[in-house]
């Protein structure tokens, strides 16, 4: 029995009832939800919706080249704007191609509304042409999903889909719409008519928890703010509140990969990213702190390293909007379930009202210790006159793009980590990367989505030569929509991150990690109608980067870098935060249990 059949308090339209076809309702609901862009790909089961889009020019539809590209573009759009991303794909292969992006968005808490066409209701379950059990397949990779069997449920479900994708901890949702439902006529409800009957995520912090947190912070001698992507999801206010709290307390701040930009990297209180490829000072401070204040992060294994040796001597506060995250991986002394922006703002208020002072003597010693760790200069590398070092390339890219309205996306691998370590972000929403799922092929389509939302900005995908081949075809999308995205490939001719692990864990047996038979990226760019550039020597890099920036076209930049450079520092799998390797790998540094980990 479907919920709507017997829904006790069936929503009643406040205004006069509007009758629309299912397909028209989709377009109307998107507009009523403030959607201006959707990313999609047509097919038989969504033709009525495409017809409705044809009749209405209020929404810009971006035609991608693969449905995975649509989902990542929508993620880039969402992450860079704070608005949900919307995707429209057909049934069967259209829906299955969207699964990677849905899973990516679920892991990184990105609000996506993915509309999938479905075969007509009377054909469901008959193995009809392009039928797939989309609801079954996407159940595990969505926050929630719906199959719409009655056109009179459609507008309600669409509005609920927006509420659920964006409410609480954001995430992807799927609305599966059979073709006959798109054709049928029914009553349209506006967003104001619809309130989900049970979904009420808690966003207001408990005053008592805030009070305890403030007391714990005032008593700390070796505190640290460990911040994450939740601060980005909460909106710019959360970043603002964090800056204020950090300046009031004087505590050091580190962040996960997903949280970069919430705190300005130019601040002296910034320790850099933490985790597997985080800085020496960030990881040692996490290990030795006496108070860890986790704000919108989730103790991911890339961050904690070996869990039984994780920050053994600290009291821990964990702020998260998702109650299931508290005590999931690490037992904490104080859990706060709330929206990050609201909770941090309350902390700031209370700290001021109570005229709290941080432990000055304790902090002085703590900062002295942090400076000793910093003095190790864990991101330093050996430069070369002959080869472009990947770190050098990132540093030049950073230097030459200063002062611009800049957005960075990445693929997955060493280049991603070097970008995270070396690019300095001052603001939230400027850094788009696949953190939880680690999806190669994310960055290029994400850049398409970002550029669509920010036409005048400089949007760069820092890529690897292997990753970029996974969604390369979206260059064509960039050309079609005049999106001058810059694909900056750190071409080391290897799946570098795989090669590094094979060197570390598998005796240098480089099984299938060499990027054989690479295309000529410059020619490929030209074939797409983009500008292709190549740099092979350090001295030519600056001019080429400048040429890339100045070009009004999409650019594919083949930056040939040292093929065997490794990404340091590194916490080997199965090791604790204070057991970082600063340079040079040896197999001995990984325990047998460590080798079992990913």
């Amino acid at each position: 029995m479907s919920k709507s059949d017997t829904l006790a308090a069936a929503p009643k339209p406040k205004q006069e009832a509007v009758s629309l076809s299912g397909a028209e309702m989709v377009v109307r609901a998107l507009k009523d939800q403030g959607v201006t862009h959707i990313f999609g790909y047509p097919g038989g089961a969504v033709l009525p919706i495409y017809d409705a889009l044809f009749a209405d020019n209020g929404i810009t539809h971006v035609l991608v080249r693969h449905e995975q590209g649509a989902t990542h573009a929508a993620e880039g759009y969402a992450r860079s704007t704070g608005k949900p991303g919307v995707v429209l794909v057909t049934s069967g292969p259209g829906a299955t191609n969207a699964v990677t992006g849905l899973t990516d968005a679920l892991m990184d808490s990105i609000p996506l509304i993915v509309l999938t066409g479905q075969v007509a209701t009377h054909l469901i379950g008959t193995d009809a042409f392009q039928e797939a059990d989309t609801i079954g397949i996407t159940r595990a990779c969505t926050k929630h999903n719906w199959l719409v069997k009655d056109v009179n449920d459609l507008s309600r479900i669409l509005h609920e889909a927006f509420q659920i994708a964006t409410g609480g901890r954001p995430g992807p949702v799927v609305v599966d719409i059979p073709k006959d439902v798109q054709f049928k006529t029914g009553t349209y409800l506006t967003p104001d008519d619809v309130h989900h009957r049970s979904y009420r995520p808690k966003t207001e912090p408990d005053a008592s928890a805030i009070a305890r947190a403030v007391e714990m912070m005032a008593a700390a001698k070796r505190p640290i703010f460990y911040t994450g992507g939740g601060l980005i999801n909460s909106g710019p206010k959360a970043s603002q509140a964090l800056r204020e709290l950090a300046s009031l307390t004087g505590f050091p701040v580190t962040s996960t990969l997903m949280g970069l930009g919430a705190f300005p990297a130019s601040s002296p209180q910034w320790l850099g990213m933490l985790g597997m490829h985080g800085t020496y000072e960030a990881n040692n401070a996490m290990h030795d702190c006496d108070l860890m204040v986790c704000l919108g992060a989730r103790f991911d294994d890339r961050v904690t390293g070996r869990i039984d040796l994780f920050s053994p001597g600290s009291k821990k506060i964990h702020l998260d909007i998702d109650p299931s995250q508290i005590n999931k991986i690490v037992r904490v002394d104080l859990g706060i379930v709330a929206d990050a922006g609201k909770a941090i703002t309350e902390m700031v208020k209370l700290w001021k009202a109570k005229e709290k002072k941080a432990d000055a003597a304790g902090l002085k010693d703590w900062w002295a210790q942090i400076e000793r760790w910093r003095a190790k200069r864990s991101l330093a590398y050996e430069d070369s006159e002959v080869l472009i070092k990947p770190q050098y390339a990132i540093d030049r890219l950073y230097a030459l793009t200063r002062g611009r309205d800049l957005y960075i996306t990445t693929e997955v691998g060493q280049h991603q980590m070097w970008a995270a370590q070396r690019f300095k972000f001052e603001e939230p929403n400027r850094w788009m990367t696949s953190g939880g799922l680690g999806t190669m092929g994310y960055g290029l389509p994400a850049a398409v989505g970002v550029q669509m939302a920010h036409p005048g900005a400089l949007v760069i995908d820092i890529a690897g030569e292997a990753s970029v081949q996974m969604t390369m075809q979206e260059m064509s999308t960039a050309v079609q929509y005049n999106l001058p995205i810059k694909i900056f490939i750190l071409n080391n001719e290897y799946m570098g991150m795989v090669r590094q692990w094979q060197q570390l864990l598998h005796g240098g047996r480089y099984s299938h990690s060499y990027s054989e038979a690479l295309p000529d990226f410059v020619k490929m760019a030209e074939a797409f109608g983009c500008l292709g550039l190549r740099a092979t020597k350090p001295f030519e890099l600056d001019a080429k980067i400048q040429e890339m920036i100045d070009s009004p076209k999409p650019v594919l930049f083949d930056c040939r870098v040292d093929a065997t450079e490794n990404c340091f520092p590194m916490i080997p799998s199965g090791a604790a935060h204070n057991a970082m390797i600063l340079s040079k790998l040896s197999e001995a540094s990984v325990s047998d249990e460590g080798k079992m980990l990913v």
């Binding site: 479907s2 609801i135 299931s324």
Partner: protein, 162 residues
Amino acid sequence: MANERHTLTALVDNEAGILARVVGLFSARGYNIESLTVAEVDPAQSTSRITVVTSGPPQVIEQIEAQLRRLVPVHAVTNWTFATGGIEREMALVKTSGADQAAAKTAAAKFGARILDDRGQTTVFELTDSPARISSFLETMRSLGLSDVSRTGVAAISRDTA
């Protein structure tokens, strides 16, 4: 940490796929299901109650509850192992066969089981009781010609007025 056995109930929207969501959650995260029952409890509100008996260390049980609450159609989750005054009941249908059914009938009578069907060589009993008593009933019947069993799984409710 030692495993504990817990009975959880979830009040859910009675919508297509809700059972798959709950079961999928357990399998995806590697949680145990010892028994699971589901039925509509309020047709007007279109809500169902799902009762799950699970086992795991306390931290895992806590996660199971939190993960269940995260599902959008889940209204409320109760852990009857902690709630005071929870009542758990299960029903079993038990068939015995053999030339002599007298011993089976005597033993079943001591447990308070009812005879639902009696065909001389086979008898079908019904017993509604706590899961532990049901298990000990089955244990007893095993040596008395037990040939088939069907258990409903646990249903739970509180004694409180509210």
